[in-house]
Every structure is written in C-alpha cells, then in structure tokens.
C-alpha cells in the first residue's frame, strides 16, 4: 500500500483520531499512525501536540517503529526543544541499548536538541559512545562532538572530548577516522584556542594518509582537506605527502580529485625547485582536471572555476589542452563563459589561429552574453598576442559587417582598446566604424566611438560634423557619453582650432551651464580655464601621450591569487573571493603560506618602508602620480599629470573582462570605468571657483588632492565612493609648535591625520610679522618612522601680514631611519625667504597604523603564541563603551578586530594594528560583564615593546567619550 494515502486525510478531528491510533495496542496500527503523523509533518501541518503520544511509541523493540519515532523527534527537536527534553531519559536509556543502531540513533538525536539543559544529560552517554565497540556508534558520536561544540565550545574542551576525538583518529574503522577528522576541522575553525588544541602533527597526518585507501570517497575528501591545512617542516615531508596524495587523482569522484589537487598545489610549492619530482607532480595534474570536464555541467563549472585559478599560476599545465575548452553547443551558458575565459588565458602565438577561428564562430551564436564575451575575447587576443593583432582587427571588421547591433557595439568597444595598445595602427578600420554610428545605442559603445573620433579626429574627414551631431543630442546622452563627448570635442578643437570653435564653445556651455552633473560641470570648467589661459598647456595636457595598456589587467592580483589557490576545491575558489567575504562569523583560514604571520613573528622588524603585502602596481600612471608635487609645479606647464589623468577618461584600466569583473572583497582593486569622471568630480569639490579661471590655480589645486601611492584610478575612486569622514576617526586639535616669538613672526600649528591611506600633516601658518612671507619650503629630520614630506608646501602667493593659511602636506616614509626619543618625535624645518625655523612635534601613533592591519583568528593566535610573554604589557583604560562601540572606534583608526569571544560572561576582543613600517601590535581587550561598563583591561604584545605605551595612549584617546 502506498504511503501517499497518508496525505489524504484532511477531515476534522484528525489529530484526535491519530492520538487514539497512537495509543492502540497493536503495533501495526501504531506504526501506521506514526507514518501519518510524519506525513502531516512533511506537508507542514502542526502535529506538535501529538508529541507525547508519539514519543510513547518509542518504547518498543520494533526497529522500524522506533526509527519512525526518531524521525519525528529529530524534526521536532528543533522547534520544540522543551518537549523533547522531557523525553530525554528515554534517549539516555536508548544510548545504552543492546542494538548499536539504537544507540547511534539516540546519540544522534540528542545532539540535535539545541537547548542548554541537554548538556547535562548528553555528556556521559556521549563519552561512552565515543568508546563504543561498534564503529557505527563511534562515527555518530564523533559528529555529535561537533554538534556539542556548536552549542557550547568551552564545554567540549573542558570535558576532554577533544582528546577523545583525537584518539579516534587512530581508530581501525575508516568511517570513524573520517568523521573525527571532519569534526576536528570544524572545531578548529571556531576559535584560535581550539585550533591550537586540535592541531595535527606529521605523525598523525601520515597515519591519516595511510588510512586514505580504506576510506569511502567522502572520508577521503575530509582527510585530504585536513591534510591541506598541515604545515610541513621541510621539502622532504612535503614530497612524501605528495607521493601519498597523487594516486587520489585517478579517483572517479570529482570532489576527491579536486581536494587532491588542492593538496598538491600546496605541497609541490614546498618541494625544492631542482627536484625532478616537482615536475612529475605538475605533469600529473592536467589529465584528471580535464577529465572533470566530461562530468555534469555543475561539476564542470566548479572544475573550470578552479582551472581558471590554476592556469593563472601555472599556464603551462594546460597549454596542450586548449581544445578541451572549446565550447560545445549544448553547454549551459555559465560553462561556455567560463571556458571562454580560460581559452583566452591559454592563448599564445602557437594556438592563436585556432582560437581566433573558434571565437569567430562563437560570435555568430544566439546567446547575447556569450556573443558579447566572444567579441571581447577577440580584442583580448589582439592585445595579448601582438602578432595576431592584424588578424583580430580583420575579424572584428568582418563582424561589424554583420550589422547585428550588439556585435557591432561590442566590436567598437574592443577596437577602442586595441587602439590603446597599438596607437596609430589599423586606422583603416575607422572608416567602416563611422558607417555604423546609427547602430550604437549603448553608452559604452557610443563613448568608445566618440573617443576614437576624438583621438583620430585629424584622419576622419567629417569628424567635426559627426561630433556635432552627437552634441545636438547632448542632453539625452548618459553621463559617460557626455564626459567623453566633452573631452573629444576639446581634443578635436586643439587639433583643428579653426573650424571647431563654435562646437567647442557649445559643448563647454552645455557642460558648464546646462548640466547639473558636478563631474561634467567641473571637467567643463577645467577645459575652459585651460583653453582660455594657456592653449599650449592645454595641448600638452589634453593631447598628452597615453600609457599603453597591457593584457594582464584581467589577472587577479598575486596576493589574492595565492590566497585563492589555497582555497582550491572550496566555494571560495568558485566565487573567486576570499572566504571571509561571503561567510560571516566562522572564518576558516586555509592559507598556503602566511606572509602576515611571517612578518609579525619575524625578528623585530627594522624600521623601514617595505610593505610586502601590497604588491606595487608598476604602471606608468602610478609612477607619475606617486610624487605629484615633484612633477608638477605651477610654473611648468609641461607637466603631464593632468594629461594622464584626463586621458584616463576611458578604458583605464582596461576593462576587457567586463562580464566577470570580480569583486575582490574588501579593499582590493576595483575595475574603474569612469575614472576620469570621478577624479574631476573630486577636483570640483575643492576648487569650485568659476570667477577666477586661472591655470596656475587649477594645477595647484590638483596638487592639493590627496594622492594615493598605488594607483590613481583606484585611490581616487575610493575616496570618492567611501565617506572619508568617519565620526570616530581620531583627529587631534592643532597645536602650536612654533610660537610667533620664536619663528620671527611665523606661527605654526600642526596636527596629523590619516586620510585615504596616507598620512597628512595639516599645518596652519600664521604670519604675525609685518612683512609678507614667501618661498616656503619644508623638510623633516631623520626619524623613527622614516617620515618625509611627499611634496612641498603649496603656498604660491606670499602670505600677507596678519593672514593665515591652512596647508595639508602628504607624508610618506622615504626618509632615513633614526631612532628618536620618544619614538614619535619629529623635527621639522620650515624655510621662508627670511629664515629657517626648526621645531619639534610629536606624531600621534594612530596615524601610523596602516589599513592592512587586519588578521584572521588563526594567524592571530599563532602570532600571539610566538611573541614571548615578556613582551606583553597590561593597562586599564576607562571607557563606558560596549564591545561594539569599542570596535567601531578602534576600527575607524585602523586597529582591527579579529574575533570576539565571550567566556564566562566576559567579552574578549582580539585586535590588531600594523604600523606603516610593518610593526605589528596584537591586543586583547577584556570587558567584564558588570553593568555599566566603566573600564576595560587591555593586554598588548609586540616584538618591539617601545611602541606599546604610545599605542596605549592612542587607544585611550580613541575610547574617551
């Protein structure tokens, strides 16, 4: 008889009827009744009121009935914990039953009852079950420890369950071993202390590897994942682990294969380079990965996302296999897009012909997204393989002939990028492009076309005419197009001043008078001033030579790639995001090698500027901007900073990978589409002063814009998009450091602040003398933190008597180091035409904390351990803030929270901060549970104890309310 009939009873009094049946003497009837109850439960009916009656049926020696009751109880344990607890004695009794199945069922069920009071009942049975003679019971009990840990971690430690669990790692039954490994991994991810307690040594890892063969496929995955977390001592250990893992690659289960790949990717790095074995391991990786591509599309997708990471690190592995990444017509779209991406990564001179002919085919498929990406891919090929550029351009021209709107638009965007790589070549495509203007209805394509016209205006006969038709519809265009149109018209005007005078006037009017968009307005004003003040300078600025783009822009940055490679076979490797960006709370750390940890625990760092964590971007643009004030002085119109910035208007950095612009979590690079616009938006805020259009003023102000040191687009973008002012950021009031009496009439007050990842010295200069002061210059003496002015004071005009001026000076750390007493003492010299004044100021510690001072719990713990206890100091700080308030205040000042733990009613905050010279300070803040909070206890550890008192002072200031 079908179970389905249980679903059909819907008449009234059903519950009552069921109750009678549940109390029946006949076991068969009771069984049927329980089935009916479960059926009602699965369709969402509330049968909780039958709980006592159902549980009564548990007193039976019929296993089927018993299992049914447990099925019911398991479901209700979550929603009705109190009721479940009432029958806890039954479970305790069952956990000592003769039948192992019942023992296991009982322990499994108890683990799912999530009320605190269960704890007192569960510990004893669980302890017994962990030592049960039956493996089925032991493996269930192992998982139960993880369940208990989820409810009450400290209990698991106190009751010694961790040790019992570790004993099970040597169990003769592989299922038990696998579950213990799984449970231990979960527990170790929860807290730093647990991680330490559950750490595995090489001997255990060896045993686990030996057990691999006996395990089920799932057990193998648990074990391989645990092995991947182990840190071997030397290449020898790494190699022997590799040898044991390699046979797993031939497994039929994709999860086993990927976990094995993860282990190998980690360990082969540790094998010495000259070892032949290293190459052997590498060669073994490709075939199993390729085989994964014949599995279900879902598994293919996971494999492809992982391969995408691996080929960024080791492209040679897959070089021969490019054909397997050719798309099949029946692949789901997400597989197609991913294959395309990998194909481009593998493209080289040898296979470019084949790849291009594939791409051309793809461009005529039906799926719009796929077609677009294929066209973009052709552009990427052109930029990647120089010798193929010609062929790619020709292919693109063919595609333009199809007149399919989205193909043409995509082709235009791609051709713009090709021009940025190969300027002044392939100009023959401009003509056909101009014939397709009507097809362009997407902003990016229109903007690209306008850029091309502006750039190559002198080679297009009717360029002015074309632009003027665009200008006619100026108001309807999107901002992106408007900005581009403005720039292109100005470019054209500078090339052909005579016949475009009206046009440029019109556009400037439109941009400055008719538009509400500050970006547009400000860019308009800049051009206007430039053109009206100094056309030569304008030419130098607007038509400046642009840096060439390169193909590697779509690669993940190395630090990110390294982190993701350590995450192979996990969700992180599919999202291409680090785990903490999509998981909250529990953040398991599976890092290949931990550069931060090495840095913190290394011998006391020298005081020097070296930041190994942030890879330097070595593009020309960034170099130009690094020291803005060195390249720009108001008197020198040849500077090309502005030119560079303005020509960022499009495509910098190259946005070829458009569809899979990875959002790399927190503060990493973001792809900029409109950097120009944003930049100018910022400028506008500072210099909105249309009355006095004057080139010198303009450039000066640009100098005032705080410049990042890594990448123009990024930093400016960041500043624009994130609110700079955090109410909790500690900014001390300016202090007079040079009284007028000492400074021959010049009074200087100073404070320091951290803005946009840089330190700024904010000065107020007050001229109390009778003469105007001019020709200011500033210099720092050698100091503990290598601070040096990144530029000069921006005071151009003379400082009139009885006037003051506020100046902000960016500070970098390029000075020689000399240890000062106290550490934060800074000697500064200011020179004027009249005299040189030397004064001393003290740099507040908190401005020296850099933005990358966050640690994950595991690294924190290891670092804490490695710093000797002698280097710990403790201090009490008065504050009335709660933990959230404290974290908010500290994080606003770059002291970051790692974890929050609450133990015995106390809250423990683990915080870290990093000085810009790579000096780390770890702190633990204890907040007692007394209400209201009046003070907190802070212990700090650092390799260099000298800085600690200063950090205490800073924290005190931050927490003052």
């Amino acid at each position: 008889m079908a179970d389905a009939k249980y679903f059909t009873t819907t008449k009234k009094g059903e519950i009552a009827e069921l109750r009678i049946e549940l109390r029946s003497d006949r076991r068969e009837r009771r069984k049927e009744a329980v089935k009916k109850v479960i059926a009602s439960m699965t369709v969402g009916k509330d049968v909780g009121s039958l709980f006592p009656d159902v549980v009564n049926c548990i007193q039976t020696d019929n296993l089927e009935l018993k299992k049914l009751v447990y099925l019911y109880v398991l479901n209700y344990a979550k929603s009705q914990p109190d009721l479940t607890l009432m029958s806890v004695n039954t479970f305790v009794r069952d956990s000592a039953d003769l039948n192992p199945l019942i023992r296991a069922l009982a322990i499994r069920t108890m683990g799912c009852i999530r009320v605190d009071r269960i704890i007192e009942h569960i510990c004893e049975p669980l302890r017994k079950c962990l030592k049960d003679e039956d493996p089925y019971v032991r493996k269930t009990a192992a998982i139960c420890v993880a369940k208990l840990n989820d409810m009450n971690p400290s209990l698991v430690e106190d009751q010694g369950f961790l040790d019992l669990l570790k004993d099970l790692l040597a169990d003769p039954n592989p299922m038990v071993v696998a579950n213990s490994v799984a449970a231990l991994s979960e527990i170790s991810d929860c807290s730093p202390t647990a991680a330490e307690a559950t750490k595995l040594d090489y001997a255990t890892i060896s045993k686990l590897l030996a057990a691999l063969n006996e395990c089920t496929e799932w057990g193998q995955v648990f074990i391989l994942d645990a092995v991947a977390q182990f840190e071997p001592q030397d290449g020898q250990e790494a190699q022997s682990i590799c040898e044991r893992v390699v046979p797993r690659l031939a497994h039929g289960n994709a999860a086993v294969v990927l976990s094995a790949v993860k282990c190998l990717m980690k360990y082969f790095e540790l094998i010495p380079d000259d070892s032949e074995y290293k190459d052997a391991v590498l060669n073994k990786l490709a075939p199993p990965l390729v085989t994964l591509l014949s599995a279900e599309p879902e598994l293919q997708y996971v494999a492809l996302r992982n391969i995408n990471l691996i080929v960024q690190r080791k492209p040679e592995i897959m070089k021969q296999e490019i054909k397997v990444f050719f798309v099949k017509y029946n692949d789901p779209i997400y597989v197609k897009l991913e294959k395309l991406d990998i194909m481009i990564r593998l493209t080289s001179v040898e296979n470019i012909v084949q790849v291009l002919s594939e791409l051309k085919e793809y461009a005529s498929e039906v799926d719009v997204d796929f077609v677009r990406k294929s066209v973009r891919a052709i552009g990427r090929c052109a930029i990647k393989v120089d010798s193929s550029a010609e062929r790619c351009v020709r292919t693109l021209l063919d595609l333009i002939q199809t007149k399919v709107s989205y193909v043409v638009q995509e082709a235009v965007i791609v051709i713009r990028d090709i021009f940025r790589k190969y300027p002044n070549q392939y100009e023959e495509v401009i003509d056909p492009l101009c014939k397709n203007l009507d097809n362009l209805d997407e902003p990016e394509a229109r903007a690209s076309m306008i850029w091309i016209i502006g750039e190559y205006g002198e080679r297009i006969d009717n360029s002015a005419e074309i632009l003027s038709t665009f200008v006619d519809g100026f108001q309807e265009e999107s901002t992106q197009v408007q900005l581009q149109l403005l720039t292109s018209v100005v470019k054209l005007f500078l090339k052909h001043p005579t016949d475009t005078q009206d046009l440029v006037q019109k556009v400037l009017n439109l941009a400055t008078q008719e538009s509400d968009n500050p970006d547009l307005r400000d860019r308009g004003y800049i051009y206007w001033r430039l053109l009206s003040t100094d056309p030569v300078a304008a030419k130098n600025v607007v038509l400046a030579e642009k840096p060439l783009i390169s193909e590697e822009t779509d690669l993940l940055e190395p630090a990110m790639l390294r982190e993701l490679l350590a995450q192979i076979a996990t969700l992180s490797s599919v999202y291409h995001k680090p785990p903490n960006s999509f998981i909250d709370g529990r953040v398991p750390l599976r890092q290949l090698k931990n550069p931060v940890l090495e840095e913190i625990t290394a011998v006391p760092p020298e005081l020097q500027n070296e930041d190994s964590l942030v890879p330097e971007t070595e593009s020309q643009t960034s170099e130009d901007v690094q020291n803005p004030s060195e390249t720009i002085t108001p008197q020198v119109p040849e500077d090309n900073l502005l030119g560079d910035l303005l020509s960022l208007d499009l495509s910098s950095p190259l946005v070829l990978g458009g569809m899979n612009t990875f959002d790399i979590g927190g503060s990493s690079q973001r792809t900029m589409i409109q950097s120009g616009g944003d930049l100018l938006g910022d400028l506008g805020g500072i210099m909105f002063d249309p009355v006095l259009p004057n080139l010198t003023q303009t450039t000066q102000n640009i100098q005032n814009v705080p410049m990042g040191t890594t990448d123009v687009g990024f930093d400016i973008f960041n500043q624009y998009s994130t609110p700079v002012l955090n109410p909790f950021q500690l900014i001390l009031p300016k202090q007079v450091v040079l009284p007028a009496a000492k400074g021959k009439g010049l009074e200087v007050s100073v404070t320091f602040a951290r803005r946009n990842k840089d330190i700024y010295m904010d000065l107020t200069l007050f001229n109390k003398a009778l003469l105007p002061l001019k020709e200011f210059a500033i210099k720092f003496n050698k100091n503990s933190f290598a601070l040096a002015p990144a530029g000069q004071l921006n005071i151009v005009t003379a400082l009139q008597p009885n006037k003051s001026i506020d100046v902000s000076l960016a500070v970098n750390n390029t000075n020689p180091v000399e240890k000062m007493e106290p550490l934060n003492k800074l000697d500064v010299a200011i020179k004027t035409e009249i005299a040189t004044h030397i004064f001393t100021c003290f740099v507040p510690y908190h401005v020296l904390f850099s933005e990358d001072g966050k640690l994950d719990p595991k690294t924190y713990l290891e670092a804490w351990k490695q710093i000797p206890d002698a280097n710990e100091s403790v201090c009490t700080i008065d504050t009335s803030l709660d933990s959230q308030g404290i974290i908010a205040r500290l994080e606003a000042n770059n002291i970051f929270n790692t974890t929050v733990k609450s133990i015995e009613g106390q809250e423990l905050l683990y915080m870290t901060n990093k000085f810009m010279n790579n000096l780390w300070v770890l702190s633990e803040i204890k907040i007692s549970n007394q209400f209201p909070v009046t003070s907190v206890l802070i212990s700090m550890k650092s390799r260099t104890m000298e800085v600690v008192p200063g950090v205490f002072d800073s924290v005190r200031a931050m927490l003052a309310t």
Partner: protein
Amino acid sequence: MISHLFICSPRGDVIAIKQYRDDIPGNIPELFFDLIKDSRDSIQPVIDAGGYSFLWMKKNGLYFVCTTKFNTSPSLVFEMINRFTVLLKDYCGVLNEESLRLNFVLVYELLDEVLDFGYIQGTSTELLKTYIYNQAIEIPTEQSIFDSLDRVVSFEPKKRIQSSVASAKPLALVGPVAKDRKNEVYIDLLERLTVLIGVTGELIRSEINGVIQVKSYLSGTAEICMGLNEDLVVGRPDRYAPVYSSIILDYCSFHESVLLSNFEDHKQLSIQAPDGEFIAMNYRITADATSACILKLYTLFEEIDNRYLHLTLRLNSTLPAAYHACNIIATIPMPNSTSAVSFEIGGSMQTAEFKTSKKVVIWHMKRLDSGGEQAIKIKMNIPEMNKSTKKEIGPMGVEFEVPSYLASRLEIRNLKVFDPRRALQPQRWVRNVTHSDSYVFRIAPN
C-alpha cells in the same frame, strides 16, 4: 557543511526537505525559487545568497538543492547529490516526483542516513541496507513512460546515464520480486561523442567520453572480473608519437571498488561489486578519436533572385556495416531575417519543421543505416539578403544514438562473476550504446 537538503518540483513544491544544521533561518525553498525564477537558463549552479550559498542541480526534472554556510567543497556537494539520486533510484525504482511522494518515509530515512550534521556519512546502496527499514513502493510501470515524456517536454539535457528498462526496479526491495533478480548483473558501456567538423569537412575536434556502468543485484561478496581489450594503452609518452594499438585511452579513472592489480598486464578489472548502480570506470579519448567521426555532411548553397536561399544537406553514415544510428535530430539555425521555409525531403522516415520563434529548422530522422544517406533541401525565403546573411546559418548540431556500437571499439572480452556462495554464474547483461554529446557541423561559409 550542508545545512539543508531539499528536493522540489519544477513548480516549486517541496517534496522533501531536511535541515541538518540550524544556522540559516528563513523559508529556504521559497528564497531559492525567488532567486532562480527570473533567470532559469543562465543562473549558475553555485549561488552566493549573502552569508550562505545555494548549490543546486536539476535531475530528472526535479531540483536538488543544498545550502551551506561554510566554505564547503562544491564538488563534494554535487557528487553527493549525484549519488543521492542514484540511491533514490536504487531504493525507489525510478526517480520522479510521484515515486518520491509515494515513498516519503523511505526518502526521509535515506536523508537521515546519508548526512549527519551536514557531513556525508555514506552513499553506498549496499551499506545503507543495514540501516534502512522501510520498503519501497513500486509505481506502476506506465508511469515511467510519463517520466521519460516529461524529460522531453522540459528540454533537459539528455540523461547521461540511461538505465535499461529492465533494471528500473527498486534494488533494495525485499520480497518475491527481489528474489527473482538476485542473480543478475547489468553492465552498460556508454560512450558520448564530442565532434566538431569545419566547413570544409575537416575534423576540428573529436573526443570520446566513455563509462562502464555496473548495476549489480548480486548482493554481498561477489567479485566481477572484466577483461578489456588486451592491447589497450593508457596515455602515451608523447602525444604525437605513433602507438600501435587499436585503442588508446588518454586517461581513465576508476571507482573505489575496482582493483587494478591485473590491469597493467592483462587489462583485467576486478570489481568488489557493491549493490546498486555505480560507474566502475571513466575514460576519455581525444588524440586518436577519429573513429568518433561517424557522420559526414555535404552541403550545397543555391541563391535565387537574391530572395531565396536553398540549402541542401546530405548526411552520410560511415558506421561499419550492421550498425545504424537512430533517432537523429539535427538542429540548424536559420538567418534571423528568414520569413518562411519550405522543405524537400529526399528519403523515408524523416520529418522537418521550422520553428519560427527560434528561427531553427529541426530535421528528424528515424534511422540512418551504415553507408546510407539522408538528404533534405531547405528553401529559405529571405526578403533582405545581404553578404553576411549566409553566415548566420548553422552550426548544425546533431543528436543521435547508435545502439550496440562503441566508437572507441572498447570491448568487454570476458566477464566472470566469482562468488563462493553461488554455484551458477549469474545472469550477465552487457549493453553497448554510443550517444552524441555535442556533434556539430559548421556549415556557414566563412
């Protein structure tokens, strides 16, 4: 680790849901359906839902969805779903909504045993028999026909593992039926072809993916010994070096129950066969897969009056004698501006239709014998023809099945079952089938 596992129908009705951890609140199935509702075709199988992830697969028209809050291995989850569906098939006979609803207690029992606290405990049919107490209810056989119809209607990718009708019975069934089939083992050799042929008939890509799939009703300790072609070669030192062998595999992988001690020398697989369905061996042939190219296409274009375009397609079979391809469905995209299409069909047992909405011609042939040819003339009416119109035609994808044939020429030369408890050799069924996976001809002139 996995927080939920649920199965729901394409309409969004939950058939079974099991919550293993209570770290994700909310009505999960509803949230899931909201997510996939709008973008059924393009949404990825792994979805970041903000703080937790959905991992989902569609199997036999049903959604199998897992949630997790951890940085879990997604392939682990997908493989688990794969095995879980096999389990359901083994225990319930067929996998569809009705059979799951009929056997809901059994389904819950399985859900309980397969995962504990989100950790996979075991998915072997054999092992679970010890712990599963419910009996399956078979659904009437005509239902399974509906099942297969369902699949066609929903345009699902072809089920990659087709179980023979004879083995569509619950395996874990106790009782008279089960006794009848105690002594049987089914072995399927299935190959899928990926072939890409260029405009001039050149072979751009060919690949054979094969599996040896075993479904055993032997229960217990039986050992299956399978001898493959003795001149089988796995891998080659240099991919272009000639290897004198009839069959060269690029790579193969095996189920954990397969012992390979005799594989190197005698190409013998000995399988400690667990009960139920599993894939004993997976293999792939790329370098020398010209044998995968079993269909050839000849095309002829005729342009008339700048308004009509005639395309003649002649599909030839190069299969060895005695083999035939059947259920051949060719899909040919037409130019977007095509206003009407008519056909001239030159052979029996074929039909063709033009799907106006998608602008494709579906050409269906019942059968194509060895050395035979099927032909069609497609007459397109294209009001605005230009130079690139022709390029929009194609590529033509062909789906087909070749019964009793393996493109790789892999064979099971001998098959024995050793079972100390059995005097008689059990019934052994071996079936060979070759399918198209992606068999594509490019037809548009470049």
